[in-house]
Symmetry: none
Subunit: 138 residues, 4 copies
Amino acid sequence: MQLLLDLDSEVPIYQQIRDRVVESVADGTLGPGASLPSTRQCAVDLAINFHTVNKAYDLLRREGIIRINRKSGAVIHPDVGRATPELRASEDWRPRLRVLLAEAVVRGVPEAEVAAYVRSALDGFALGRADEEKDGGD
Amino acid sequence: MQLLLDLDSEVPIYQQIRDRVVESVADGTLGPGASLPSTRQCAVDLAINFHTVNKAYDLLRREGIIRINRKSGAVIHPDVGRATPELRASEDWRPRLRVLLAEAVVRGVPEAEVAAYVRSALDGFALGRADEEKDGGD
Amino acid sequence: MQLLLDLDSEVPIYQQIRDRVVESVADGTLGPGASLPSTRQCAVDLAINFHTVNKAYDLLRREGIIRINRKSGAVIHPDVGRATPELRASEDWRPRLRVLLAEAVVRGVPEAEVAAYVRSALDGFALGRADEEKDGGD
Amino acid sequence: MQLLLDLDSEVPIYQQIRDRVVESVADGTLGPGASLPSTRQCAVDLAINFHTVNKAYDLLRREGIIRINRKSGAVIHPDVGRATPELRASEDWRPRLRVLLAEAVVRGVPEAEVAAYVRSALDGFALGRADEEKDGGD
DNA sequence: GTGGTCTAGACCACA
DNA sequence: GTGGTCTAGACCACG
């Protein structure tokens, strides 16, 4: 997992780390159980503050996306992509998604183009299909 | 136009106002040329400070979504939904959209459910279709 | 003289009127002694408030660019383009010009392009050359 | 960077700050990557409110002239003077320049004097030439 | 009446 | 330490 950060972005760094992890999990780069670098190593690699990485990992943990063990460090939660109560707890992606779609439409992007982008993005995600293979489809 | 704000949200109030206006434009509640309440009136209605409304309107103006006129106040920009260069300037909705889709998938939401939600949201937007009906697509 | 106003511009209307008159004088559309429409007529033509036109005319009068008589209305000052003390009084076009040039350069416009635009603009002004013809050059 | 403000000017303070920064960038006083004082420090130095500095910096950021970073504060954008799409976005310096040139001519300033001033101002700008010398024009 | 500017102080988020 | 947000009140410019 190669993290590319934009230190000048208005998006907080810890949020960027969290977002990149989420995307990596979705597209299959980081499968359930995969290890994340230690907070200190990650901080060194990205040339950022150790506490910032810590904050990102803590956020991911609270979202139920990773597990943190004292020994093995941070790993992707085994239930990721499984619709467990904890993961489904937050449904606020819906209103946020609606705002983004509205913004694109208001900016004059044809609905077909938006829909096509959504389709291509979803097609690029391996998480759902991996499940189908393993347990024959939910 | 009825704005519902969540004063306890971590999303800044001025951002919420901006988002609600964008959604209203997308779903046709606020058509091109429609008037927004004056900054001070809006502030009274929402029981917030007028400077906060001011910031939201200023943001919308800079995005090319509204026009601000000293005598008639703020109105929806006539070119909204038209793919003018100014409106299309920012294409960063793509990466932001990808993150949100990834988050939903990671949370275990089936891709079909995400796709369905996107479709229903886009179907609820009247902005694109209104043009086609009225002038056959200028 | 045909005035085109942008009522949504951040530039005040009275300033826009003043600017258009100045440009018309420079390019020869309005020569020394030429009549301007009456404030009331102008207000009707432009569909704006009478006081706004009044303010623009007053500004032009204070700058020494027009004369206002009770009988003949507003006319371009006969000394316009002549470097009279009143007209030369304000030299603040220099710092303002410098800022604009700096802005263009900072935005990446090649100096040659800026210089070329200045030359073409000056070439389009008939005011200086009219003098040369009449009194053989200063 | 020494900013001189005219608190009695009709030009808003935040605009003056923005203009001084733009000029400093153009004449090479502030090169790409150079640091600006923190908003609060700058406010103390200029004996004005920090919100006013904030507004100036925000304006410069939106114009693509500076970058604002939570840890290192504000720095001149590395692409300044490079004709990137964002910087070239606004071409409205042309009409504003034309008005200023017209004003000078109307005030009786000989075209040659105006042209000479423009030339000297552009010659005083190091931004374009610095590139040529350093890397032969990227 | 409208929006814009400046000041001021408190609180929070980020690194 | 940095910047960002919200609140508050006074004053001005515009139409």
